[in-house]
Symmetry: C2
């Protein structure tokens, strides 16, 4: 087996490597469009729906896009509308989409870093030479094995609980597997009716799922960096890469800050946290703060939350998760780099520094591009949604940011949208998922330098 893989891998590796290096944007878009099309066609078959009558073209497309882009927005209730075959198709879409994101992002990382002459650095973003992952084949294998292992761990934590709650062994195993894959891939799809609402006070269900979402949202480079460092370094925490340290600390800070804000605002809301006990309120706050990054599960009804909570969730969703993860948004490192630049500006430091490292200046321009294009996509889609529907801004904005950042939380309006609005959200999910990967690949590879430089002149800012 290894030999066959190695043999086929050589040419596959060569092709993937060349494609990633020469037309990364087209590669990412083609792969995702192709996978979405296959899932779409499968979901259009009559066997995919529970009723056997077949889904509408737009509903099948929306569900396929939502699954492959690991978003989790649904126009039809996953548990009741789709058949068992439909559920398997959706789960395959999630698994392939999740792997696609992690793989393509890492591949592009490799291609970019190689071109910049930093071959080993990008994946680990570290100057230590401990992680050599030069080969595409090895990278793919590592991602598949690591991801699947973590998914299985989550599933194994959930399985006994579902059994204890009275499920049949087969059903319990299927639900545990589905939630394991759906959580680690930050997909947000739920195989059970009413999603996680019946489990709102069940620590044994919510904690594994929150853990899966959080670990998945850190991104593959972080997971790999932690795993290899633990094995190879005595002081493994200190030896972690800057990227890992930034991602983990920012994610934790946003988690705690979000939980405090959301908890404070929903504490006495009778429709959400109000009727819960103290411990459950804490659990609900943490769960509601993890999910915008970008798991998309909810343990209390989002539509009953206050507009303030929606706004805080909007902000958390827009920031999203870690780079090269299945999470969406502008990514926590982008957010962190901008914050650090502002701090350095306020202190009057010439360099932007953190954890004893200096952040390269060109990183900032890339951050601005990512944030600006994200904000533009959200604004334009929001205008389109307001134009096509009678929604209020708070609902439209929430839905749009959720689609862009592939979160999947919703105020409950998705199913009621007209077809035009569904297509807008499909496009936005695709852009949010594939756009940023393509963008980064395309940007990093077109590195033309000028010989003649213009004289410098400073406009007034602010």
């Amino acid at each position: 087996m290894p030999r066959t893989w190695g043999g086929r891998g050589l040419s596959l590796r060569g092709w993937a490597n060349r494609a990633a290096r020469e037309y990364p944007a087209r590669l990412a878009m083609t792969v995702f469009a192709a996978v979405i099309t296959v899932i779409w066609l499968l979901l259009l078959t009559p066997w995919a729906t529970a009723s056997g009558r077949g889904a509408s073209v737009v509903d099948a497309l929306f569900t396929a896009t939502s699954a492959v882009c690991v978003t989790g927005l649904v126009v039809q209730d996953t548990a009741t509308y789709w058949s068992e075959f439909g559920h398997v198709v959706i789960l395959v879409g999630i698994k392939v989409g999740g792997l696609g994101v992690m793989t393509l992002a890492s591949l592009l990382g490799l291609a970019v870093s190689r071109r910049l002459g930093l071959t080993q650095k990008l994946l680990t973003a570290s100057e230590t030479k401990t992680e050599r992952l030069g080969e595409v084949g090895a990278l793919l294998r590592t991602i598949i094995i690591t991801a699947t292992s973590i998914e299985l761990c989550i599933s194994l934590l959930l399985f006994p609980r579902f059994l204890a709650l009275g499920d049949q062994a087969g059903t319990a195993a299927w639900h545990a597997l589905f939630y394991g894959v759906s959580s680690f891939n930050n997909a947000g799809f739920v195989p059970t009716e009413h999603g996680l609402l019946p489990f709102a006070s069940d620590w044994f269900v919510l904690v594994p799922i929150a853990l899966g979402v959080f670990i998945g949202s850190l991104g593959f480079p972080v997971i790999l960096n932690v795993l290899t460092n633990r094995r190879r370094h005595k002081h493994w925490v200190r030896a972690l890469s800057l990227h890992t340290k930034l991602t983990v600390t920012t994610s934790l800070a946003l988690l705690v800050g979000g939980a405090i804000l959301i908890g404070a605002m929903e504490w006495t809301n009778p429709a959400t946290f109000g009727g819960q006990g103290f411990a459950t309120k804490i659990l609900s706050s943490i769960f509601a703060s993890v999910m915008p990054r970008s798991g998309g599960f909810s343990s209390v009804p989002v539509d009953e939350m206050s507009q303030e909570t929606w706004l805080v969730t909007d902000a958390l969703m827009f920031v999203g998760g870690g780079s090269a993860s299945t999470a969406g948004g502008i990514k926590v490192t982008t957010f962190a780099v901008m914050l650090l630049a502002i701090l350095a500006e306020a202190r009057g430091d010439a360099d932007t520094e953190v954890f004893g490292r200096r952040i390269p200046r060109d990183t900032l321009r890339l951050s601005i591009a990512v944030v600006f294009m994200g904000a533009t996509a959200v604004l334009v889609s929001c205008l389109a949604l307001l134009r096509l529907t009678d929604l209020r801004l708070s609902e439209a904005l929430f839905e749009v940011i959720s689609a862009y950042a592939t979160v999947g939380l919703s105020t409950g309006i998705t199913a009621t949208l007209p077809d035009g609005a569904k297509y807008v959200l499909c496009a936005l999910m695709f852009v949010g998922r594939v756009g940023v990967i393509s963008l980064l690949g395309a940007l990093a590879l077109r590195d033309r330098r000028r010989i003649v430089r213009f004289p410098e002149e400073r406009p007034i800012i602010g």
Copy 2:
């Protein structure tokens, strides 16, 4: 006279110069707080109100802050609630506030540029040595004379029209003067009942006011650069500074883009443009697109516009006008620099270039700081408003951005706000007006350099 001025000016100049150099944030905040307090106390007197019963503490504070910060949000109808004395107080507040912004911004510019060893450059942001304005006294005089001249021109354009419409000579002159000052200072206060709604199709009223707002929103460095260049250069357009070119082109682009978008969205709305003739619709579109930058007048009822128009207006208001102008927002150059950086990134250029000039890299970090702090101020205030009222997000966001960017447009909710929300908006107007000036001053003066540099390490972005 010149001698006396020169004699007193020496010490005044010395003090202003030193204050601006050594504690610019405190200087700006103190000046504004002091002026607001005086106007507030004057508005609290019974003579300031038409009824003679005196305004409430919070209403007087809100109106004083709105006038001095040249915002134009009102909790009481300006024309009917305040007396003639009240109107004069408000107009003085506008004039002093407007001059304060232009002067302080320019002073800080001088102090900063002197410190950076670019003395003559900042005001004109040009490498030509034609504009020497080293002296604070001369600068102040130039600003006062230029501003007052432009205001009088606008007033002279309006006066015959108001006469023709049947006003008494005294009333016509007063209204013309008020609109002249209010428009050039981007104040948005209206001395006539129902504001400009009765003039919705009157080109002779709306065009001078739009012109005053537009010129005022360009900022003093731009106006001065144009005026002096016209006198001194043969090819004066080409010789304009980068700052001037960037400000004018971005302002015009936003004006045209905004007019097309708003026009398209309101074209058939019976409550706004729907009932107007073709030419008036064009006028209304242009007027509605100039006003977010940040005049704050409206020729059609804002509360009847669609949510989409509100959202486009939100975006235009947030961008605001030119640096060192009476306009608010993040400023058009900040916006332009970020756009140019993204374009350069997309092209793979190492330098960010425009109009044959290279934009310094540290400009970008400053831009991020300005945008990020603006967005944070808006987000936090929006949360507060949603918490304190039953407003919808679309209304709260519009009101908050209008206050932050000192625009003064409103969906009509200002007067109905509870006192707590009024105080939040007061604070936001102050921050939007003084915060950015102080921020820039404070930032630019703390320029500590490190001798030990940390090693560089690149996190993954996006």
